[in-house]
Each structure stands twice: as structure tokens, then as C-alpha cells.
Symmetry: C2
Subunit: 387 residues, 2 copies
């Protein structure tokens, strides 16, 4: 029998694709004593969570709550409830998460039409329009708002209009966008949405905030077949998170404490302020990178504020740079995935992590490491561009 030594977490600056750094208040909230999941004080807190999530999603949807799993469980929640075998589903694919949506939809028996765009590009509304014309009876159009794997943003409003004109539902992945740039569920007429906690909400990973509007709920309620997942069946979850409080599963108490504290901080800052902060720090980083001759790999005009796909300059070993940043500076940045593997670093400026000071900390360490890795880089020029 082996007892491991107590785990001591190092203090990292988390500038990868998530998790971002969680504020001290959130970590402290999480370590409060446990209460029962049907305790009246916990039930009250669940209601507050729902109210605050609605404020962050900018929705009035009653069915707005956190799924007891990570962001990918949120994705699966939306598909298993809305899709039945044989349904026609259109999925925008321009990175890892669109690709994943196709897989999840097919496991629900969907007939999937992929709308593909290059990794780093957004999905254009006219692509969706074309797909809608070729599919006989589209039930659902699914789009990743902010592709974490490439740093590209896909605007939603026009796609939403096209989708609804064709009589389909719109499903939106906001895992990386929520809290870091405008996400307006009601104004954009999004029928189903999921997110994660560990990106721009700066809460530890473990929950997936979701929201369904009345139209989506009606589709889930009028299914011909049972939802294939018991754990994610909205018809059962509605009784647990609704007024009846019918026992379903034991909610992750501590994670909900953390989300409650994180949402309070988001709303105290204000959504507009928070979006502006993300935008400003992204622009500062981008200018600094330009000053040292580096560029972003994602499509101009569609670059995320919260995740910067930085093209690796020729002759530099991508993995070596990441390793040095982590080991010598306690800074985590992410690697590229799929076709972008080895070609980009993913530099996150999400939630708590998105600050002018962190941009400077990163630049000074990054320039140092680039010099060590054989690429002459002028840290002064980079830092001067930040102001």
C-alpha cells in the first residue's frame, strides 16, 4: 500500500487555455464546511446561483443552472436532450470543439452536416445559409462562439437569424467566451447554451453552466425517445433544480460554493467593465508581440480577447519555450492542437488572469526565454508597446 505525500500546489500564473487563476475569495469560499445538498441553506444558494447565471448569460431563461460536470458535460447535456436518432444537425467546425460537437451529435444518432472553416478562421454566416439550403429538415445548428483551440471568434447574430428562419434551434458553445466578451443569449435568440467555469469566470473547473429557452425545453419534453443519458436528462434535472427539489444526484457542494463566489465577483465588476478589461489587455499583448515581430495566427477581425494564438517564429522550439516558462517562471501557456500543434502558443488572458501586470510579467519572461532559445528579442520594445 502506497500513501502519497501531501500534495503542495505550486503558484502558477495560468496563461494557458484554462483553467485561469481563481481569486482568493473563490478558493476560500470552496473550502467552507460542507452542508447537505437538500439543506435549506444550500437550496437558497442554488436559487441565487441560477439568478446570477441568468445575469451573466444575459437571459431570462428559467432553466439556467450548472451541470455537475465540466464544460464537455455541458456540451453533451445540450445534444442528448435536443437530438434524437435521425435528426439533421448542422455543426460549424473550425477547431477542436466543433470537431467534438460532431462526435457528440453522432453518438446521439444525428445526421450531421459539417460546415468547415480553416483552423483560426470563423464560421461565415453564408456558409451556414448554404448548409441550411442543402439539409431537408434541419433541427439544430451548433456553433462554437470562441474556439479555444485556435483563438477565433464566430459572431452569432446573423447565424441565429438564418437558423431560426429555417425553423431550427441554435446551440452555442460559450465555454471560453462567457465573462470575457459579449455573450447575449436572449438578444441573440440562442436556444441552448453551455459554458465552463474555469475560463473567464475564473472559478475552478468542475461545473458547466447551461441555459435552455422555452423552445428548447419544449423540444426536450416532447421527444419520441428517452434522453440517452440519465445523468444529463433535463426532464429529471428540472425537478431537482426547480421548485420540487426532487432528489436526482448529489450536487458538488463545494464547486457550487466556488461558482457562487466567482459569479459575485463577475457581477460586482460588471459585465461591460469585464469585457473592456479583456479587450484592453488583449490589445496590449498584441501590440507588444507586434513590436517584437510576432503575430497572431487567428483571422484578423475575429481574434479572441481571452485567448491569443501566437505564431511560433521559425527556428524556435515551441515545446522548449513552454517548458522554460513553466519551470523557470511558473507561467503556464498552452500548446497548439491538431493542425496547429507545434505552430502556435496559446496565451490565455482569461478572467482574473487578464491584467496589465500579467501581460507585462508574461512579456518579460517570454522575451527572456526567446533569447535563451536563440531568437534575439527586445524585451524593452515589447514592454514599451504595452502602455
Amino acid at each position: 500500500m502506497q500513501i502519497a505525500p501531501a500534495f503542495k500546489a505550486p503558484t502558477r500564473l495560468l496563461m494557458g487555455p484554462g483553467p485561469s487563476n481563481a481569486p482568493a475569495e473563490v478558493l476560500a469560499a470552496m473550502s467552507q464546511p460542507l452542508v447537505g445538498h437538500l439543506d435549506p441553506v444550500f437550496v437558497k444558494m442554488m436559487e441565487e446561483l441560477k439568478t446570477m447565471l441568468r445575469a451573466v448569460f444575459l437571459t431570462r431563461n428559467d432553466m439556467t443552472f450548472p451541470i455537475s460536470g465540466t464544460g464537455s458535460a455541458g456540451m453533451e447535456f445540450c445534444f442528448v436532450n435536443l437530438v434524437e436518432p435521425g435528426d439533421e444537425v448542422i455543426v460549424g467546425v473550425n477547431g477542436v470543439f466543433g470537431t467534438r460537437m460532431v462526435d457528440v451529435a453522432e453518438r446521439c444518432g444525428a445526421r450531421v452536416t459539417k460546415v468547415e472553416s480553416g483552423w483560426g478562421n470563423s464560421i461565415a454566416p453564408q456558409q451556414i445559409a448554404e448548409a441550411l439550403r442543402t439539409v431537408s429538415k434541419p433541427k439544430l445548428v451548433a456553433i462554437v462562439h470562441a474556439e479555444t483551440s485556435t483563438g477565433a471568434l464566430t459572431p452569432v447574430e446573423e447565424i441565429s437569424k438564418l437558423t431560426h428562419d429555417a425553423g431550427a434551434l441554435l446551440l452555442l458553445d460559450t465555454v471560453t467566451s462567457l465573462g470575457g466578451c459579449p455573450v447575449r443569449i436572449d438578444e441573440w435568440n440562442v436556444d441552448a447554451v453551455y459554458s465552463g467555469t474555469q475560463k473567464c469566470l475564473s472559478c475552478p473547473p468542475g461545473l458547466a453552466p447551461v441555459s435552455l429557452n422555452a423552445r428548447a425545453l419544449e423540444v426536450a419534453r416532447r421527444r419520441r425517445t428517452k434522453v440517452q443519458s440519465w445523468y444529463l436528462d433535463v426532464n429529471l434535472l428540472a425537478s431537482y433544480w426547480g421548485q420540487e427539489r426532487v432528489y436526482h444526484h448529489t450536487a458538488p457542494i463545494s464547486m457550487n460554493y466556488a461558482l457562487h463566489a466567482a459569479l459575485r465577483l463577475v457581477l460586482e465588476e460588471g459585465l461591460e467593465n469585464r469585457w473592456r478589461r479583456h479587450k484592453q489587455n488583449h490589445l496590449a499583448l498584441k501590440s507588444a508581440l507586434a513590436a517584437i515581430g510576432l503575430e497572431l495566427a487567428s483571422q484578423d477581425g475575429h481574434q479572441l480577447w481571452q485567448l491569443n494564438a501566437v505564431r511560433v517564429p521559425q527556428g524556435v522550439d515551441e515545446a522548449d519555450v513552454r517548458k522554460r516558462l513553466l519551470n523557470d517562471f511558473n507561467i503556464e501557456v498552452g500548446a497548439g492542437l491538431g493542425p496547429l500543434k507545434g505552430k502556435i502558443w496559446r496565451v490565455g488572458l482569461m478572467g482574473e488572469t487578464s491584467s496589465r501586470e500579467n501581460v507585462r510579467l508574461f512579456l518579460s519572461a517570454f522575451c527572456q526565454v526567446l533569447n535563451e532559445c536563440g531568437r534575439k528579442t527586445d524585451a524593452k520594445a515589447a514592454l514599451a508597446a504595452v502602455e
Copy 2:
């Protein structure tokens, strides 16, 4: 926009069906700073988690790790990976969790044969033997080891032998048993097992430890159809929790910190010591209840050490007693479910909560409340029976 006040958790004595109280070390471990889910220090911790889980499950199964969801996600993990449409599955049903297994198995397309026993009773081996004779090609037999809804234990060894003689796999729910009474996965030849963290491991809810042996893994790998859940597909999870570390989902970092700390405490105490402690405190409570004329509702000889189903005496309002215990004494006990609703209290003595002091605290408050609720009860007699 509404910002809720900061949540302040009361300090409850958690004597319901779970969660149990988490030790201070576990809560403190959880509030450490986040690291990335692919950070080498986290990857090392994942390996330690797997090693410690094997020690607690008493198994050598390589595929032993925590699912990123609660106990019910662990149940679903086992069924979606092992069952394909049309498969014959036998499920022991003697409470809420056997009933749930039937639902989950049917959503996987299984043809289910229920082996039913009264709520509070165990499943007898001869019942399983009979079912195995009536089913043409049984693929899986699923049993709840410790039924949290009724306080009844079903012994596993004989059922395991019968199951394997018939060429089927054995799936075991150990959500409430693991850490509180003997669970011997390899010795009992259990092919697939899931548990929860918030019962006798005294870790917050949010993860589901699971283990599959080589036989079960082979079944999952040789499926004709894709696993219907992407999130729970063991073929994908094996690459994430295995040596390849292929990105799948973002593990709930903080919850894994907590489980690491909780498993250390379990192993430091030692499994045998921990089981003995649970047994002794159960027997103490049972003697005390007998001294005041109360009895357990579950089958004699099959009563759980970690969960006591106390029959509500005539003339006492079950819900009123629970409410007073919670509001006046900060003690949570559980209500009955299904046919036992209003008829029992579920008094948990799980993990950290199972101590002689807590038995006394409970008895003194409980007798006080019973007196207030019109049933004359001699607290002294109850407490005297504890020693």
C-alpha cells in the same frame, strides 16, 4: 441584476445519507491554488490518485481513476461502456439505486431482468441464480453493495461466483460501502465498480472513483457500437488518464486535490481500522436506539454500519424531528425515500462523521427532540448504552 450576498456555510454535523463531514485537511487541500490539468505536477498527482484508489478498492486494475462527475455519473460510466443495445442485463433492485440502475441500463438499450427484494432487504444469491437461468445470454449482473436508501448490505461473493459461472460480468455499486466496510474488488472478482467521494471517503461530492478489470475493458474495447456518451467513453478516458495524456476534458483540479487528501487519510488510518470504527459506532448507536425502544428497519444480519434506517415510532412526525435537529442542533439526518418515505430516518455514520462523540451528540439531541415531539424518551438510558 442581482448580486447575492456572500454565502456563509453553517457548521453542520452531517449524519444523513451523504455528504459526510469532510476533514479540515481535505477542505484545506481543495483551496490550494489551481494548476493546469496537463501540468506535470498535476499529472504526477493523477498517478498517485490512481495508486491510492487501487489500494482503497483492493484491486490491481490499471483502469482505476475518478470520473469527473458525481456517483451517478460513475454508474452511467459503467453501463454506457459495458452495455450495447439488445444486451441482457440482470439488476438487483431493493431500493432507489437498484431502481436507478434499471433506468440507466434501459437507456443504453439493455433488455433488463429485475431481481427484486423488499426495500430494506438484501438481494439473495438464489434470486440471482434463478434469474441467470431464465435469461438466455446474460451479459451483466449489476448489484448495489450498500443501498443508501434503505441501509441494507448485499453480500457479493456468492453472487459473483454465480455470475461468472454463467459467463456474465459483475458490476458493483460501492458508493456508500467504499471506506466504511470491506470492499475487495479483486478477491471478489468484481469486473466493474463505481463509488462516490462524499460518503465513507469523507471528501466533498463531485468525483466518482471507478475501476474496470481487463475483462470489462476488453468488452468496452470490442463493442460493435460507439459508446453513446462521449464524456464517459472509457476508450477516450483511457488515453487521458493513461500514459498518453491525450487531452479529453479539463479535470476538476480542486476536487482531485480534495480526493488526494481524503485518500491519504483513509490509508493512514488503514482500511481494517476504518471498517472496525464504522462497525463499532454502528453497534453503539443500535444499542442506544434499542435502549429507548427504537429499531432499525433494514434486514437483520444485513444492516449497514455506515447508514442506519431508524424506524419512526408511531405518533411522531418524521419531518418535524428532522427539521428540529437541523434548526436547533445543526444536525442533518436523512428522510426515507419511496415506500419508506415518512417511515424512517436515515442516520449516517460515514467516514469522518463516524465517531463515538458524534453518536453521543446525536443521541442527546435526538432524545431531546423526541421529547419535544411528544414521545417520552430517556436520554440517559440511550447514552448509557453507548459505552
